[in-house]
């Protein structure tokens, strides 16, 4: 099935929040802290502006607790007397004229009595920099399996390595935007978001307002990638506060520079490996230390750390594993969710390290993976026994075949010997990604889905899971249509409006197709029961049955309901961090071929192969698009995308200076799927939206290492960074 809303998007008719008609509204804007840490001593409103024309909001206007409810309650809606990062929101303004608003924002002076900020997450804080506990570590998690110290001591070879990954900015093409308006007594928020119910929760908390007087509607969303998981709650509160004070609709749309500088990014990380191996490459012990920059407020950092450490030892069988994860508070602009959510960071380190291990032992990096890839019956670092029937070695072999691995290696040897300025290399990564929320997370969410029978015989699927390009509308349509024997046109997907849909959980964690899709299937089955139809009623008979039901029950509708149930046999212990971390994992093997220009140290990706087993593929075109898009984001993260910091905020907050790949920077991404059905996922599917972020960076850096014989340990591998570590034979010795 083609993308359901595709034509609307291609013709420009799809309306995003900034396109929605809005009468008599005010623009809203934010005045932010200029300093990374300190006490606000003054807020001065400049003399050249007629402030009577403006709506002005500060922390005193927050009716409830001044905090944005998420995991913790540490982050204020608006800074009161202290600031913890540059760009922290302090004052909100609204005005009819956007240009007058811009001048006004510049005319508000916020004075901060500076305190010493922490801007390097790797360094132990000095006493005057401690802002949490004794050492700024606000989350500490540990995974232990077997006895890693003893195993390391006994290992014939121990290989150490330390790796670093940088922050990454989402660059969704539609910037953050939100409209707040009152409809009678109901405050309505409409905007670009991934999680309407997260926004609702934040609103009820800080506005001290009952859910019956609140409504959150997701507008068509131009990309999210995690950047619109939690941040929209802030924007919604800002717009709401202004709208409540102004008694008029308020629209806030960030321009690109503000969006890049002030909103969340991927957590920077440093990961240290100590790996004990036999001489022929069998893993004996993995001792891994993960450190993440937690930014100025907690946001989702504990969960990012959690997923990061669970994936840190990779898709390998090893009896002795210790993974120590810490997230440290700094005065950087807060970090947040970004596709992959901790796993890309730790899997980069692991897969880079595996190649280092291979080279240290003098064995082929392919053989090292083959020797250690999990087989069914073996267990992960948390002791989760894998038995999904997927042939992980076959995924690897498929990638090697598609990429012409051996032939290319031979060809590169010849090429590299002959070319004066270019060097080619090929590299791989094997990895995995858990689908759905970690451990007991899905159970705690208690996601709920409704499928209603309409009077005309069509059905309406009601979930809070949104479309942001990944294909939700289309896949949900396919799932419901298949389950009920209906044509796609007879399936309506309700807008993600909290007044109309139940809380099916957030659109994150690669859960939408697998878990929520599965709930849709069960809700479809329950619809038959609710409409008094036999369990095998399908197609035209089903439609007719719904019409009859409506005739007999005017003013009512049959609604099928499904609520999440933990699959039997899945057990997770949050206290010990042991057990079944995820219902299932998707498996990947990616191969990158690169060419390095020795004159400029610039790396070009010549070819990229992405093979995965993500269960059954419901829509091949959409799935392929997800993998291709994720791979290109990974290529950008590996080679191009670098956040430059000034006082913990992004100094290069422009698309001219923060570079994402253009069409000319990437080759065609060649994708293949192997399908081992996952019985508990909708139509046998596993989640895979985030999987493609885990493989590209290590595959590419492994390829660079292969091309040049150097061992980069940090991404992005910019030309400047590569020049610093490479002896190119043309090196300047002066």
């Amino acid at each position: 099935m083609q993308r359901r809303e595709g034509l609307a998007k291609l013709t420009g008719r799809e309306r995003y929040v900034d396109d929605l008609p809005l009468d008599d509204f005010l623009w809203g804007a934010t005045v932010r802290s200029p300093a990374p840490r300190g006490r606000i001593t003054a807020v001065r409103f400049g003399p050249a502006v007629d402030w009577g024309e403006f709506v002005v909001v500060d922390h005193r206007d927050v009716p409830g607790p001044n905090c944005v409810a998420l995991i913790e309650t540490d982050q204020p809606v608006l800074a009161a007397d202290r600031v913890r990062h540059v760009h922290e929101p302090v004052v909100l303004l609204a005005h009819r004229s956007r240009s007058a608003l811009r001048r006004a924002v510049a005319a508000v002076e916020i004075t901060v009595a500076a305190e010493t900020p922490v801007l390097d997450f790797r360094a132990a804080p000095r006493p005057e920099q401690v802002q949490y506990g004794a050492d700024n570590v606000f989350k500490h998690l540990r995974i232990e399996k077997g006895d890693v110290e003893r195993a390391l001591a006994a290992a014939p070879v121990v290989v150490e390595g330390t790796y670093e990954t940088g922050a990454q900015e989402h660059v969704y093409l539609e910037t953050q935007g939100m409209v707040a308006r009152l409809e009678g007594d109901v405050l309505v928020l409409e905007g670009s978001m991934q999680c309407p119910y997260y926004v609702l929760k934040a609103l009820t908390h800080a506005l001290d307002r009952d859910v019956t007087r609140l409504r959150v509607i997701q507008a068509p969303t131009g990309g999210g990638f995690g950047g619109k998981e939690e941040y929209p709650s802030h924007l919604a509160l800002h717009a709401a506060l202004l709208a409540l004070k102004a008694r008029r609709p308020v629209k806030i749309v960030y321009d690109r520079a503000e969006d890049m500088a002030a909103t969340t990014k991927r957590h920077p990380a440093r990961i240290r490996h100590r790996t004990g191996v036999t001489r022929d490459g069998r893993l004996l012990a993995q001792d891994i230390a993960v450190l993440m920059d937690g930014g100025a407020y907690v946001t989702l950092s504990p969960v990012v750390l959690s997923r990061g450490i669970i994936h840190a030892a990779g898709p390998y069988a090893c009896d002795h594993v210790r993974i120590d994860g810490r997230t440290v508070l700094t005065n950087a602009v807060p970090f947040g969710a970004f596709r992959g959510f901790g796993a890309p960071q730790t899997l980069f380190a692991l897969e880079r390290h595996m190649d280092v291990v291979a080279r240290t032992l003098g064995i082929d990096p392919v053989d090292l993976r083959r020797r250690n890839l999990l087989r069914d019956g073996q267990s992960t670092a948390t002791g989760q026994v894998i038995r999904d029937g997927a042939d992980r070695e076959a995924v690897l072999d498929h990638a090697l075949t598609l990429s012409a691995w051996s032939e290319k290696r031979d060809a590169h040897r010849i090429f590299n010997a002959g070319d004066p300025v270019r060097r080619r290399g090929i590299g791989l990564a094997t990895f995995f990604h858990g689908a759905g929320f970690t451990g007991g997370g899905e159970t705690a969410l208690r996601s709920r889905v409704h499928v209603a029978g309409l009077a005309d015989g069509r059905v309406e699927v009601r979930t809070a899971n949104i479309e942001m390009g990944q294909g939700t509308l289309t896949v949900f349509t396919q799932i419901a249509a298949a389950r009920l024997g209906l044509a796609p046109a007879d399936v309506v997907i309700a807008p993600a409006d909290t007044a109309r849909v139940p809380n099916s959980g957030p659109t994150v964690a690669s859960r939408t197709t697998m878990i929520v899709g599965g709930l849709i299937e069960r809700a479809c089955d329950d619809l038959r029961r609710a409409a008094g139809l036999a369990p095998d009623t399908m197609g035209a008979a089903l439609g007719a049955g719904l019409v009859r039901w409506h005739d007999r029950h005017p003013g009512s509708e049959p609604v099928g309901v499904a609520e999440y149930e933990r699959p039997p046999g899945v057990a997770w212990d949050d206290a010990t961090y042991r057990g079944d971390a995820y219902g299932t994992f998707a498996w990947g093997a990616y191969v990158a071929e690169v060419e390095v220009d020795l004159r400029t140290c610039a790396t070009r990706v010549l070819d990229f192969v992405a093979v995965q087993d993500a269960g059954c593929i419901i829509n091949e075109a959409l799935a392929r698009g997800q993998i291709q898009g994720g791979v290109v984001q990974g290529i950008g993260w590996a080679l191009l995308e670098e956040c430059r910091w000034a006082d913990g905020a992004m100094a290069n907050a422009q698309l001219t200076n923060y570079l994402i790949p253009t069409a000319a920077d990437v080759p065609p991404i060649r994708v293949a799927f192997r399908e081992t059905p996952y019985p508990l996922g909708a139509q046998g599917a596993k989640g895979m939206g985030e999987l493609p972020l885990d493989g590209p960076a290590p595959a590419i850096v492994n390829a660079i290492a292969d091309a040049l014989g150097v061992e980069p340990t940090e991404i992005p591998v910019t030309p400047e960074r590569l020049m610093a570590i490479a002896d190119l034979g043309l090196r300047i010795a002066d």
Binding site: R102, D255, T600, T656, N657, L659, A664, D665, P719, L730
Partner: protein
């Protein structure tokens, strides 16, 4: 904010004579970047060149390709003779931004914007281009080599308009253009090199490595004198005489210096040591 909408070259010059603070605007690809946020730019008067018909398109004479005040990068890319006689102009044009910028950006605008990272200027300088400036007081011609006097400083009075750029036609047996950016398109140069040789005379132009786009006389002397060059490192003394790369948001001084040496060495590898 205000804009004046002249219909002829004479009107433009009269406006500039009377209002030297007025800013001529052609394609707008520099001036309008982040326009809504650049509130200080709004409090100015602009002179719109887009409606001035007699600021003519590019034309060919026996001696030169003459670019008009409003000639865009795309105009040159589409000109078949330019591809043959001035391949560096076409190469430079194709590496400016992307199609949408090439369709609007003008060579004259690139010159007066005076960015040290300008892509059009180096190609023009490598061809010995001459800038034609007109005002009510008359016409001045300045070779592009001498046009810049410092960072964002040029030999243009506020009442002058760049009305043409004359690019001399000649037989050039060496022509090379190398722009080192982070991406293959939509990239600001980190290091750039444009080189020609005409009747034995070398023009080596570097950009993004000094406060202005500039000739590299020390490097040109090495080539002219036929100095034997073993490797890129042998070029560093001359490079250090000619350019002063810095650290900035895009790159580092060390990267620029070493990369310039390597690119220079490789690009002219057939010519070092042969006068």
């Amino acid at each position: 904010m205000s804009v004046l909408l002249p219909a002829s070259r004479a009107e433009v010059l009269a406006i500039l004579a009377g209002h030297p603070e007025a800013v001529p605007i052609a394609g707008g690809t520099d001036l309008l970047v982040h326009w809504p946020a650049q509130v200080e730019r709004h409090d100015r008067a602009y002179v719109d060149l887009s409606g001035v018909a007699d600021l003519g398109p590019l034309r060919w004479t026996d001696d030169a390709l003459v670019l008009g005040a409003r000639t865009t990068y795309w105009d040159v890319i589409q000109d078949r003779r330019a591809a043959i006689e001035f391949p560096l102009l076409v190469a430079a044009a194709r590496e400016v931004g992307a199609v949408q910028i090439q369709a609007r950006g003008t060579w004259a605008g690139n010159i007066v914007n005076a960015s040290p990272a300008a892509d059009g200027v180096p190609a023009l300088m490598a061809y010995g281009a001459v800038v034609v400036l007109q005002s009510l007081a008359g016409t001045d011609e300045v070779s592009l080599d001498r046009f810049y006097t410092g960072y964002k400083q040029m030999r243009r009075r506020p009442d002058q308009l760049v009305t043409a750029i004359r690019v001399p036609r000649a037989a050039r047996d060496v022509q090379a253009f190398e722009k080192v950016g982070t991406r293959r398109a939509q990239a600001i140069a980190k290091v750039g090199l444009a080189v020609t040789r005409e009747s034995g005379t070398w023009r080596v132009v570097a950009w993004s490595v000094a406060p202005t786009v500039r000739r590299c006389p020390a490097v040109e002397r090495l080539l002219a004198d036929g100095m034997p060059i073993g490797g890129p490192w042998d070029l560093l003394p001359a490079i250090d005489q000619d350019v002063t790369p810095i650290d900035d948001v895009r790159s580092t001084a060390e990267y620029r210096r070493h990369t310039l040496a390597r690119v220079l060495h490789h690009t002219l590898r057939d010519h070092w040591g042969r006068a």
